[in-house]
Symmetry: C2
Subunit: 407 residues, 2 copies
């Protein structure tokens, strides 16, 4: 937790990964983020992985440091409460993050009628409003056909929901950017972030589309070969797979040095009349000549021999480790100051991270757990909407709202 | 282009994907982003894909809408100019994005001595300063061993640099968040965003680490099966692979309806004593029972029969298409208003996108191309650093700076 955004109040009506990570990033930088959900939980409330008791480890990971309000979104009164929350007054409020449909009861038009300077960031599937999720957008962009071993034609989906994650972080950026404009007197606005557009723009930003426009076909599937440079997984004498990478001249020369391949590579360079040091693309073009040299060099040494030599020599490399091994890796998890052992709404205690960035001069506050569903219903209805305890009791009785006990 | 951040001046000293996308997102939301590079280009200036003439389509994709200054970063005077640019005065300046080493000539300590309220966002590999790139961080997190067909044990790297992209967008967010704090009188700060921490935190945010802590092992490799719900690629009668997804009850019921599987699935439910509609996890647990039904349903219909029925029925699905097919897809590229045909520094004209989000009430300004390397050297030295034409000429003569002709 840092407090850069202290004082901001963001309301989140969301599910799954993109919009919830947007809220998470804002919350862990100090904003008050109030998530509302249907009583009993939204469509992501039971997403796997689950604890033995059936609580979602996914939900409690994605909603850390937020407040939770539970509403009956099937009722007119519950929907009105959601609208009022999203548009509640206050200079540092009027910030709403959602993936609810653009034309539903949380449309910008409906909300703007309640608060003229509302900033609404809306995650969408396809830009035209039709359904799309990370998996189906990804399949449309060509990537699963470019991923995986060259000797296998089956499409390979990514396991990491990259489009959701990029969209979530980009939405956090656009929300704060729109707030800056509003602070300068330029009013509120809706910002729509469809996964389809984030995907299409990114494929262009990285040069994939220009490459395909020029060549007439998409990049070939090539296993773990790093496109346009030198990199791949290699296997050590004891069967460990290491990822080696050499894009810059320095990365290349250090890899050759530690592997003792300088002379052999110079011979290949002489034969071909090229210099691999000055042009990483040539290393890619001629990788079939280079790979056997590296394969032999790796096969002659154990991982225990190679990896300290790589580190000492400044080589860019990585081990393929399992996540259970990674959890014992001091740099990633075990001694990582981002992580703190906390108790979660599932009742389980385990290490969880705060803000993903580090501000050396600021104090990193405690990691805050996700709320129990409905934990802050009464507090928020009172503080943000100014409802009396009598009104709140009536809403509970009418089953329009619920607290942490589900009623 | 939108102008939410109009008036801000951001200096970028960067290479590869993460820090450049941070600058790109800021520029396409209206900030003036000035990128400095070594004369002749930094380590990413010739990254593939290349045009036939050898210009990087990657570089010109990632640096759209920025200004370019070329400096001899090997000389003391060039390094001093870089420091002065990063810390140039102005209320809306003092914003620096970089992936230069934390302890080098662009360290926060050195820069802060020149501007006390500097905001510096620094992309790093590993948090301890050691080398790491997207590929090597990814291999350390376990994902390549979870990716790809279950019948193949080889690690599968992702083709999309997901960690770089997430880091870039998150950095854009933290930069504006830090600026907001500075506007409230809280001074400047350094924000460090190591790929290793972004990766570790994300694996925790999504529940991967809690799952592994509980089970003692990482998620099994399972091809394209969607973990904890129903989803996979299926093959139509004419051999087309479609991704089908059903997480919510509605997605599930619509898929059954269009595929005509209601009765068969009800039989399985009866046998097992479960309800698949209300618990997506059960669809995953019993997927071996469900897959044959879906495989037969797909195998009995062509893609041309199925896909309009899916759309009409509100099913969540996606085709596995190649990127060349995607370029003809109206929704992604062909008629996407994000894209505009512009001339790039390579001399080529092709469609490129502006800001990834859409603001319906604002006018989407023209997409702006990347600069030529050094195109704005003189303009920036004059406008930002206040150098006279005589001083600028001297710097050219001394080869400390260069314009677009490389001198």
């Amino acid at each position: 937790m840092y407090d850069l955004l202290k004082g901001l109040r963001v309301v989140e009506g969301s599910a799954f990964v993109a919009a919830p990570t947007c809220g998470l990033y804002l919350a862990q930088m100090g904003a008050e983020v109030i998530r509302f959900d249907n009583i009993g939980g939204g469509p992501d409330f039971r997403r796997w992985p689950l604890s033995e008791a059936g609580d979602s480890l996914y939900w409690e990971g994605l909603n850390k440091a937020k407040k939770s309000v539970a509403l009956d979104l099937g009722s007119a009164e519950g929907r009105e409460l959601a609208q009022r929350l999203a548009t509640a007054p206050g200079e540092d409020g009027g910030l709403f993050v959602t993936n609810f449909p653009a034309d539903g009861f949380l449309s910008y038009e409906k909300l703007r009628a309640l608060r003229d300077d509302l900033i609404c960031v809306r995650v969408m599937g396809w830009a035209d409003g039709s359904q799309g999720m990370d998996y189906t957008i990804n399949s449309a962009l060509g990537l699963p056909l470019m991923t995986g071993p060259a000797d296998d034609a089956r499409p390979v989906n990514h396991v990491l929901a990259a489009w959701d994650l990029l969209t979530g972080a980009y939405c956090a950026f656009t929300l704060v950017a729109a707030l800056m404009a509003r602070m300068k007197g330029r009013g509120g606005r809706e910002i729509r972030a469809p996964l389809s557009d984030i995907g299409a723009a990114t494929m262009a930003n990285l040069g994939f589309t220009a490459e395909t426009l020029l060549s007439g076909q998409q990049r070939a599937r090539m296993g773990n070969d790093v496109f346009g440079a030198f990199g791949r997984d290699f296997t050590t004498k004891d069967g460990v797979k290491l990822m080696l990478l050499a894009i810059t001249p320095k990365q290349w020369s250090k890899a050759l040095e530690v592997l003792g391949l300088g002379a052999e590579v110079a011979t290949v360079e002489g034969e071909l009349g090229v210099s691999f040091a000055s042009d990483e693309g040539l290393r890619f073009t001629h990788r079939a000549r280079l790979y056997p040299l590296f394969e032999r060099a790796f096969a002659g040494r154990t991982a225990a021999e190679l990896t300290p030599a790589f580190d000492a020599g400044g080589v860019t490399w990585g081990a393929y480790q399992t996540l259970e091994a990674a959890l014992d890796d001091a740099r990633l998890f075990k001694d990582n100051p981002l992580f703190q052992n906390i108790r979660h709404p599932s009742g389980l205690s385990y290490a969880a991270p705060g803000a993903m960035a580090t501000i050396p001069q600021d104090i990193r506050g405690d990691v805050r757990p996700a709320p129990k569903l409905g934990q802050h219903t009464d507090e928020v209805l009172s503080d943000v909407l100014g409802l009396s305890s009598g009104e709140i009791a009536r809403l509970h009785d009418a089953k329009v709202v619920a607290g942490p006990e589900g009623r």
